[in-house]
């Protein structure tokens, strides 16, 4: 087990290093930020001075070297626009994104798993077909358009919920969260539901398929032969078995929720990391883009690592397998 943990940690560090190089080279090519930073009236001399003071006159590999050394100290550079450390800008907005992604995952789980279970238990009924069709629709609807339609319906049309933004925040253990107040929930509901839709469809299909599969297994037949009530068979035996893939997929999909939050945050003007990324790309704020990508990559790698290790913990075949 310790060897497995060490090996996976080493792999994660390697992925992070390779990604930092790729991200740096890619973003390096985005464009020359000097044009943006210096007054167009400035002469060549001034431009050269600013370029040198920012270290932008060095070749790209030297810049990557400086960058790597500084990144080791937790310094990802200053934002060209805000004049603040880029890493602080991103981390400041991270709680908002994590709050949104967590709420979306919870909605997807609590709305998707029971419905999937229900459809999986009667695979040939009309209701199951209806559920299947619904999940197909959920897969097909583009996130941003759904968000806009929800705004139109619930914010503009009915006036029940705000059109966008985040409610007032309160520090919880030093992290500003908006879910402590009713206004926060009112702001969170629409964006979280929008973000949840795709994962809801996914979990719905996964649960229905897994349930259908599980109901044909011998242990279900034996449980029936023992005279256990259907509620107990489904609630205890089947649920326990289908939870493994559900937990795995939920963990892995959390990363993609954070990525897709870019779209949802833009639609709902949610002040998270994703909106920061889009705004920063628009104004060529290179350090912020790099900081966002590296922090997101680190987050993904950490999530993958945790899911892998949890899986090994849950499933002895993985733990003792030769190719783990």
């Amino acid at each position: 087990m310790i060897a497995l943990v060490l090996r996976r940690l080493l792999q994660s560090a390697l992925v992070l290093l390779v990604m930092s190089l790729l991200v740096f080279v890619a973003v390096y090519a985005i464009g020359d930020p000097i044009a943006l930073l210096v007054d167009p009236q400035a002469d060549q001399h001034d431009v050269a001075r600013v370029r040198a003071s920012l270290g932008l006159d060095a070749p790209w590999w030297a810049q990557y070297g400086y960058f790597l050394v500084a990144a080791g100290r937790g310094d990802l550079g200053q934002s060209f626009i805000h004049g603040e450390p880029a890493i602080r800008l991103v981390l400041e907005r991270m709680p908002a994104t994590l709050e949104l992604a967590s709420a979306a995952l919870l909605i997807a789980l609590f709305a998707g798993v029971p419905l999937g279970l229900w459809a999986g238990l009667r695979p040939n009924s009309i209701s199951a077909r209806l559920v299947n069709g619904l999940s197909l629709l959920g897969f097909s609807l583009p996130t941003f358009w759904v968000g806009m339609m929800l705004i139109m319906l619930f914010a503009v049309g009915l006036g029940w919920l705000p059109t966008g933004g985040r409610g007032p925040t309160e520090p919880v253990f030093g992290v500003p969260l908006s879910i402590t107040g009713i206004a926060g929930w009112r702001h969170l509901l629409l964006p979280a539901a929008t973000l949840a839709l795709f994962k809801w469809s996914l979990l719905l299909r996964l649960t229905a398929g897994a349930t259908r599969e599980a109901m044909r297994q011998d242990y279900v037949r034996f449980a029936r032969a023992r005279g256990l009530s259907p509620a107990r068979i489904v609630g205890v035996h089947v649920l326990k078995n289908i939870l493994i893939p559900i937990v795995t997929v939920s963990g892995l999909e959390f990363g993609s929720l954070i990525a897709f939050a870019v779209v949802t945050e833009t639609v709902f003007a949610w002040p998270g990391m994703g909106k920061l990324l889009i705004d920063s790309i628009a104004v060529l704020d290179r350090p912020v883009v790099v900081a966002y990508l590296l922090i997101t990559v680190a987050l993904f790698v950490a999530i993958n690592l945790v899911v892998d290790l949890l899986y090994a913990l849950l499933d002895p075949r993985v733990r003792f397998g030769s190719t783990a």
């Binding site: 992925v15 390779v18 991200v23 890619a26 973003v27 090519a29 985005i30 695979p123 040939n124 197909l136 629709l137 897969f139 097909s140 609807l141 583009p142 996130t143 941003f144 358009w145 806009m148 339609m149 705004i151 139109m152 503009v156 059109t163 259908r212 990363g255 993609s256 990525a259 897709f260 870019v262 779209v263 833009t266 639609v267 990324l277 889009i278 790309i281 628009a282 883009v289 990508l293 997101t296 990559v297 993904f300 993958n304």
Partner: protein, 279 residues
Amino acid sequence: MSRSGYAALIALTLLVGAALFAPWLAPQNPYDLAALDVFDARLPPGSPAYAGQMHYWLGTDAQGRDMLSAMLYGLRISLVVGFASTVLALLIGIVFGLIAAWRGGWVDALVMRIVDVQLSFPAILLALVLLAVTGPGLAKIVLALVAAQWAYYARATRGVALVERNKDYIAAARLLRLPSWRVLAHHLLPNCLPTLLVVAALQLAAAISLEATLSFLGIGLPVTEPSLGLLIANGFQYLLSGRYWISVFPGVLLVLLLVSCNVLADALRRLADPREAAR
């Protein structure tokens, strides 16, 4: 194929037909700025034009463009981007997937490791970064979509090819001492195609949706030739003041396109997998 599958096929054919014949079907050329009339800006559906006999059945946008025409042309761009990126990504994925399955060993390990790492990152982030680097443009967005999607095809191709390569007909072809490329292209590949077609239909919908999303975020296609995603984005600011038609109609068309792709993919999957159909 199921009845819903046929319905989806018909819908998709109609949509592709409408896109192909857009110049003849559209009441107006939406890219011809001279044909637009500022007096006709933001008219609700069914309004008559300020000058002339025309009626704007689906309303007009902020430039006074007929929404129906803009949608037909936008559909055309969305489909071109979707099909071009799907075909390119499919070709690249097939080549890498077949090579990985055929050669095995370190080649297989290398290709699959790259695929694994790439697929652990959401396609949207990859495409976003690539487009931020290259800037907006039709060819560039196709490139970004291909880069984001080839790995799905490579993985699917390798999966099927690994099963197929152990079958007798491959052994027979090799016993005939046919060259490797011939066994791959004429014997192995045709038998992998049914599965790949299903993946392609699903990924076509994903590509069109991704393009619309990127254009909505303002980093996909240039403003001069709006795709469906950009049309929806343009109407966003007017949505809050109740001018729903600029966003809603292109959105409905986009959803119709995506749903028919996905339903068709679902029907094809059942067709390709008899176990699934028997259920």
